[in-house]
């Protein structure tokens, strides 16, 4: 039995969890700052790091207490090293290093995106080769894993992340932050009415959302010039259909080419209800690949996912040391 204490603070959640053997959550404490940042229409880095500092000790104490364990029971301390906001990351990294040093435990640095993928361990036994569509406010990546802890990014966004496009379109239309849930909900009332161009990009599995965002803006300007009022529900419907159809089509294409045993969705955007519908529909053509649609608690930022990925890294002997620092631009570990 291996017990991991995991710490995550890459963006606006201060989180700590205790995870047993990579797939059992003994505690998963998340202190969210989203209400504070809603005021600003996004995460404010300085405010975020200050709140992380205020919360981190209490969150760690609560995670241990709720799991009913002490530091004696913990085998290693896993933490998010990056990618993320530098000031936010620092807080979690320092907390993890301090705890590891004080209690003489090994440190396991984890890439936040790997955490999102391994969050699926809580609902399914991961089967390799595995394909993961990792989608969030800062990332849009198709990752092929031939084996456990073997990552190969086969597609990525050339400009904006999909979650960022949602946030910006929501802002253009005055729908508030974060954009994902509001657009997902409003699009349910929309219908096919406007036409937006399908994103064009060179790489077979690459994505692009910047042009789509600009197209939304231009469409609004054109309609305004004509004196037409914009139907927001129809517009977000069209935006969402265009973005998600493109993304799911490319994912299925990658599944057909790589033939993985499992396809998992990961990251905050994986909670999008229309994306899940489309993915299910399109994956019906690939019955040999098992589709995992993680529940909401596995999609959003949390520390349990870092505990799960940290367990895999721990098994592979990938330990860090006290000299390691936060890396805001950290890339996925690669064997190439």
């Amino acid at each position: 039995m291996t017990m991991i204490l995991a710490i995550e603070s890459s963006c606006d959640e201060t989180a700590c969890a205790v995870v047993r053997d990579g797939n059992q959550i003994l505690s998963n404490i998340v202190s969210s700052q989203i209400n504070v940042h809603t005021l600003y229409g996004g995460v404010v880095p300085e405010v975020a790091s200050r709140i992380h500092v205020e919360n981190i000790s209490a969150v760690v104490a609560e995670a241990l207490q709720k799991a009913d364990v002490t530091m004696d029971d913990i085998d290693a301390v896993a933490y998010t090293q990056g990618p993320g906001l530098i000031g936010s990351l620092h807080v979690g990294v320092q907390a993890a290093k301090t705890i590891a040093w004080a209690f003489g435990k090994p440190l396991v640095p984890v890439n936040h995106m790997c955490g999102h993928i391994y969050a699926n361990s809580f609902v399914a036994d991961l089967k390799f080769p595995l394909m993961a569509l990792v989608i969030s406010g800062g990332h849009t990546e198709l990752v092929y894993m031939k084996n456990d802890w073997d990552f190969k990014v086969i597609g990525t966004t050339r400009d904006d992340a999909v979650g960022e496009a949602y946030d910006k379109v929501a802002r253009i239309l005055g729908l508030g932050y974060p954009g994902g849930p509001v657009i997902d909900k409003l699009a349910r009332e929309g219908k096919e009415h406007y036409k937006l161009p399908v994103p064009k990009v060179q790489g077979e599995y690459d994505f692009s959302f910047s042009g789509l965002k600009t197209a939304v803006l231009q469409l609004i300007q054109r309609e305004e010039k004509k004196g037409e009022e914009i139907n927001k529900a129809d517009l977000v419907y069209c935006f969402q259909e265009t973005a998600l159809n493109d993304m799911t089509a490319k994912t299925v294409k990658a599944v057909e080419a790589y033939r993985p045993k499992m396809l998992v969705l990961a990251g905050g955007v994986a909670a999008n209800s229309r994306l899940r519908e489309l993915m299910k529909e399109k994956m019906a053509a690939c019955p040999e690949t098992e589709l995992v649609l993680p529940p909401l608690y596995c999609c959003t930022d949390n520390a349990a996912m870092i505990g799960s990925a940290g367990y895999a890294a721990y098994r592979h002997g990938l330990f860090g040391n006290l000299g390691d620092a936060a890396d805001p631009g950290l890339e996925m570990p690669s064997n190439d």
Binding site: L39, Y40, G41, G42, V43, V44, P45, E46, V47, P83, G84, L85, I86, G87, G137, G138, T156, T157, R158, D159, D160, A161, E164, K168, R171, I172, S210, K213, T214, V216, L217, Q218, P328, G329
Partner: protein, 150 residues
């Protein structure tokens, strides 16, 4: 202050304009990019990066505020979009003293980070994919840079 105006017809031309800027830029340069969502700030920066010999693809820095790339010179790509309404010290001023090129999107939200001398590029979306770029050079170093670009 020196000014210059140019129009690009499409994304490829915007990218090429950025590349010219990147090739002409020396160390210790600050470029401000002003323009609404969808104006083409990231496309122009992708061109600047190429002109600086950066091999990696430049993606939007909105989420993390700052991304750093290494080429002939270091490119610090800052996006102050999320900083609207918040006055704060991000410690980015250290970067501006580096021997690199710093591109700042949404400079109106970057507050005290903006130095006294800079090259400011205001981008306006025209019809279709056409865009207008208005260059303003503040300071001798930037007037010389603009002369080379124009």
């Amino acid at each position: 202050m020196k000014t210059w105006k140019t129009v690009t017809a499409d994304m490829a031309e915007t990218h090429a304009l950025g590349r010219n800027i990147g090739e002409a830029a020396a160390g210790n340069t600050v470029i401000l990019l002003d323009g609404d969502l969808g104006a083409g700030k990231t496309t122009l920066t992708q061109g600047i990066a190429m002109g600086l010999g950066v091999k990696k693809n430049v993606t939007s820095p909105t989420f993390t505020i700052l991304k750093i790339y290494h080429g002939r010179l270091t490119l610090n790509h800052i996006d102050a979009y999320r900083l609207e309404g918040a006055s704060q010290d991000l410690g980015f001023d250290e970067l501006l003293e580096d021997d690199g090129v710093t591109v700042i999107e949404w400079p109106d939200f970057a507050g005290e980070l903006i130095p006294d001398e800079y090259l400011k590029i205001s981008i306006h979306l025209l019809e279709n994919d056409s865009r207008e770029f208005i260059f303003e050079a503040c300071g001798k170093q930037y007037e010389a840079l603009l002369e080379e670009i124009a």
